[in-house]
Symmetry: C2
Subunit: 363 residues, 2 copies
């Protein structure tokens, strides 16, 4: 079968060029007579890959030199533990969290096991429309060890298009579903983490970008591989890291560079999401999105059909038309079009046409 | 370049058939129009892969039904923390460890952070020859929460060819470098774990085989994803697992099945290691192995040159002859031929010929 448009929320679509390169290099990487998957993590070949991936990540995200870039095994859920274990201390076990959806809620639950957590902001629903809290609505603790938030909530399709101001309190962001989707100013954060399976590549690795002054001794009972300090001191190879996932992240970053970097990518993503939200709004008798326009997610367009009983038919017909994985998260129901970087504009155009057509036939 | 014989200790050689299949399926898995890397971990496609990989693991290793098979992100070093965090309790913080090389030593160091560790056995050196302790030489604590050992030490090339008897004390084995190398009786163990990057596939995932009665509440401060109970309850998908690594493990297991299973694989590995050790012993004026014959590793043949100054030349000439990554571990020096399942007998034959030839020219 030819490649389909895959709207999966993650693990998600990977640029075809990247897959083709990985395919080509599978048995013989750079004339070495073996796959990069088969080489030792401390050998010169993989060390060169690791250094280059870090350099490319720094270049693409304009990461200042006083930030460390780490590649940590596992997904963002591991970070839900690592953040409090590393940033809380015996002297300060207070942290602020914005709880704005499924993922930030999970982060709160795990953090509460290690400290006193203040939920400093939540989603506000007015007339059935959901919006994020505004800066003056945040109940910030100026003595918190950090504030954690999730700029984009994939399940709920709701995104901060501004950065919370926390004064001297370090800002920690779970960017799993928003990293590389548009340019950011890393200086506004003290710690950023992102599971790879949306815009970076293969599930099983998380990128952590942390300002050096935040790297210190973790709480005494922290498992050794949950310590940022250990990862920093060993340059992400205290133990064998997920080497192939790191290699693949490098191919994706090179693809981002070839596209023209995050400015071009961000503009393309704006066009993609605008097309979809416009379609939903124009066909408001048929489709619904209940997120306030200025809080709508760039990467995850959540919508439902007014006639809920048509949802299965919609999903089936879409799949037959080569538009796969549009089902909403099991916690949310309805539909969701995840349009990460690898989703071409043509895929969004196809979906818009399909949605118009489906509404016409069933409206 | 054509494929070389890769003696890397891990990440290590992967069967060429497996890489070819992965290559072929990279852009379109089973006619789905996408890579298995790009599908959601809760969708029917990946769930089917996960179930099949577990079934194949159970079939290949004859795992009884009262054992759980888990796929956990990260490597064996994560298990160095997970084992004590899950098997120690407030009532019993005592555990026995056999400390027989680099890896079991690391396991001891981490375990000491959580409990009172009794080193119940160590390597014994007599007349310059290293051997493992015998059963009567073990200093076992009958009240230990468990005994942990490392059947094969990759750095040191030393392997238990028998299973320690611990009475009612649960036996925990780090089989990272020995799993799938020969048949085992899973019933003799209560918990087995193995990082994938030797005989299972891609770095970044660890297989945990645990008898159900050992799965209980972890110590109170255990991060959620370090709890075996959480992994059991969520069937390895509490969060997004390393999906591609799991898929690849499945391809490797199918390859093992096509070879005729672990009996055939084990016999082949015996032939491979015997050829190498015989070569070393026959050329004892030139090569040395200091492990007692009945403790020599099946998978990692460690040796050195009597004329240490020839080591670099040996490694260089070997590499030129397509025999790659024969350098010993940085902690051990010398040479090491890791001859995991994917290393064909022809690769070992080539190495033996090369070693004979090198000894002749330089002896």
């Amino acid at each position: 079968m030819s490649r389909v448009y895959n709207f999966s929320a993650g693990p998600a679509m990977i640029p075809e060029e990247v897959l083709r390169q990985a395919q080509e290099e599978m048995l013989d990487w750079h004339g070495l007579g073996m796959s990069i998957m088969e080489v030792g993590h401390r050998g010169p070949e993989f060390q060169a890959v690791l250094e280059q991936v870090e350099a490319d990540m720094r270049e693409v995200l304009s990461i200042p030199s006083n930030y460390q870039v780490l590649f940590v095994a596992g997904g963002a859920s591991h970070q839900f533990s690592m953040v409090p274990l590393n940033l809380l201390s015996e002297h300060n076990k207070h942290a602020d969290y914005l709880e704005t959806g499924v993922w930030s809620r999970k982060a709160v639950i795990e953090a509460k096991r290690y400290g006193t957590i203040n939920v400093a902001g939540q989603v506000i629903t007015e007339n059935g429309i959901h919006r994020l809290p505004l800066q003056p609505e945040l109940n910030l603790n100026p003595k918190a060890a950090y504030l954690h938030y999730t700029p984009n909530e994939t399940v709920d399709g709701i995104e901060f298009h501004w950065v919370p101001q926390t004064g001297k309190v370090p800002l920690v962001a779970d960017m799993t579903s928003s990293i590389l989707s548009h340019p950011i100013d890393v200086n506004q954060y003290q710690l950023i983490y992102a599971g790879a399976q949306k815009n970076i590549g293969q599930a099983g690795i998380t990128v952590v970008i942390v300002r050096e002054d935040l790297v210190k001794e973790a709480l005494s009972f922290t498992p050794i591989l949950y310590s940022y300090k250990v990862h920093v001191e060993h340059k992400s190879v205290y133990n064998t890291p997920p080497t192939y996932a790191i290699y693949l992240a490098g191919l994706v970053l090179n693809w981002v560079q070839r596209q023209g970097g995050l400015k071009v990518i961000g503009e393309r993503n704006q066009r993609k999401s605008k097309k979809l939200y416009s379609c939903i709004d124009q066909l408001s008798d048929f489709y619904m999105n209940k997120v306030a326009p200025d809080c709508r997610a760039l990467m995850n367009v959540v919508f439902s059909l007014k006639r809920e009983d048509l949802t299965e038919e919609f999903l089936n017909q879409a799949a037959q038309a080569g538009l796969a994985n549009l089902r909403g998260h099991r916690a949310a129901g309805g539909c969701r079009a995840s349009i990460y970087n690898a989703m071409p504009e043509a895929g969004v155009d196809c979906l818009v046409e399909f949605m118009k057509d489906f509404a016409k036939k069933n409206g």
